[in-house]
Point group: C2
Chain length 242, copies 2
């Protein structure tokens, strides 16, 4: 249990909104009220509320208050860096992970380039497909630096690699860049997904960094066109320059 007051506030309200205890449109207590009831300072309350606002949970209106947004309609709060396990648990879908490979190999030229390392460096290669409602519609291929992740097993890959990295190896995952595009389906796609006669797949490339900016993981998440969906929540920063 850490001493992170504003994060606790965030989690409390995020959960209440996720579970529907606080329905869309409800008004949160004012910042002064929250500060008083939680016995914390108002700036700390504001840190928590601002996190909620950034992640699409609430909207703050000057002079009025903070109100719960309608997050349920748009499911999939992917905006953020969330693991597949965390996501499927939140959605409660019937999903299954099939691990096809968990092997320690040496990086080829293409992967070395993506991970920005030299070729022949040892890496972990993990191939998994995700079955949702009985259909294999996602193929995830992960590459992790063996220098950072010395050990990896099929069991970990079947459960959650992120959980292992964070809770066992105590790695601090900091940020990721993702690039989404559409590409021709490969043989591997056909082998591990039920693609019917699709010629293309959506490819989400992920570059995951640690706190010290080390790039330690490159992921290709390949999705069947008709099942792919990505949801983003964005706030506008007014850029009225000069």
């Amino acid at each position: 249990m850490k001493n992170n007051i504003y994060l606790n506030l965030y989690k409390d309200y995020a959960e209440q909104i996720d579970t529907g205890v606080l329905p869309p449109g409800s008004k949160l207590p004012s910042e002064n009220e929250l500060a008083a009831t939680y016995q914390i300072s108002r700036e700390t309350v504001r840190k928590g509320l601002n996190l909620l606002a950034q992640n699409g949970y609430i909207n703050k209106i000057k002079g009025k208050g903070s109100f719960v947004l309608d997050t349920g309609r748009l499911k999939f709060p992917i905006s953020g860096l969330v693991s597949y396990k965390e996501l499927s648990e939140r959605l409660g879908k019937k999903s299954r992970t099939i691990v096809h490979a968990t092997e320690r190999v040496r990086a080829g030229n293409d992967i070395a380039k993506e991970l920005r390392i030299e070729a022949d460096q040892p890496i972990w290669k993990v191939i998994r497909s995700r079955e949702i409602d009985g259909e294999r519609i996602i193929l995830d291929i992960d590459y992790l630096l063996a220098e950072v992740v010395p050990e990896l097993t099929k069991e970990i890959a079947a459960d959650s690699i992120y959980q292992y990295l964070e809770q066992e190896l105590l790695l601090k995952i900091s940020y990721a860049e993702k690039v989404i595009c559409v590409e021709r389906a490969t043989d591997l796609d056909h082998q591990y997904m039920e693609l019917k006669d699709d010629t293309h797949v959506v490819v989400v490339r992920g570059y995951v960094h640690l706190e010290d900016t080390t790039l330690f993981q490159y992921t290709e998440s390949r999705h069947r066109l008709d099942k792919f969906q990505f949801v983003d929540f964005a706030r506008r920063i007014s850029v009225t320059e000069t």
Copy 2:
């Protein structure tokens, strides 16, 4: 000129990083230094730096300092709510907008549903294609509440609707939800884009809200598969529950 110290700090450094004055890997002055030189408090410095960190400009490391990230390699800082004009200006690509229609109509059932209004309400419908490097690869269809936007012209649509809304109508655009998926190409797609023999297009649906949470704009941005790219920057919030 507003009194927004931390936003000024953000813009200053964002520009310096965008233009390469501060190359990737450079170290920013420490928070205490910045507070001293700018004659502001450290918490205010931190607000500016945190904005930079959120938007992928810098990474902050405890005990070490703040460092510029490599934003150039992954261009397209789409993560955020940025208009097409702002984006193309930042990228400096040869692009052109062709306005096909700017008309005041009454909402049909489908659009009324997206905008969450009743059918037959007056709305503006704008159809534009975007030509990049000589090819028409994006089709944007916008629907705006006439109640919020009383007037709209072809000239505005050719330039920037956002600029008009914010600087002329003084509307406060607050946030947007975006949903990305792949769908079958329609006749309209073939009419206004150079689709060759593609059967599908990437569809980015955008729901844009004002400060008071009013949904006032629904946008369909339709992209040719081979030219579509979406880049996202995400920071991890550790969710080590219970």
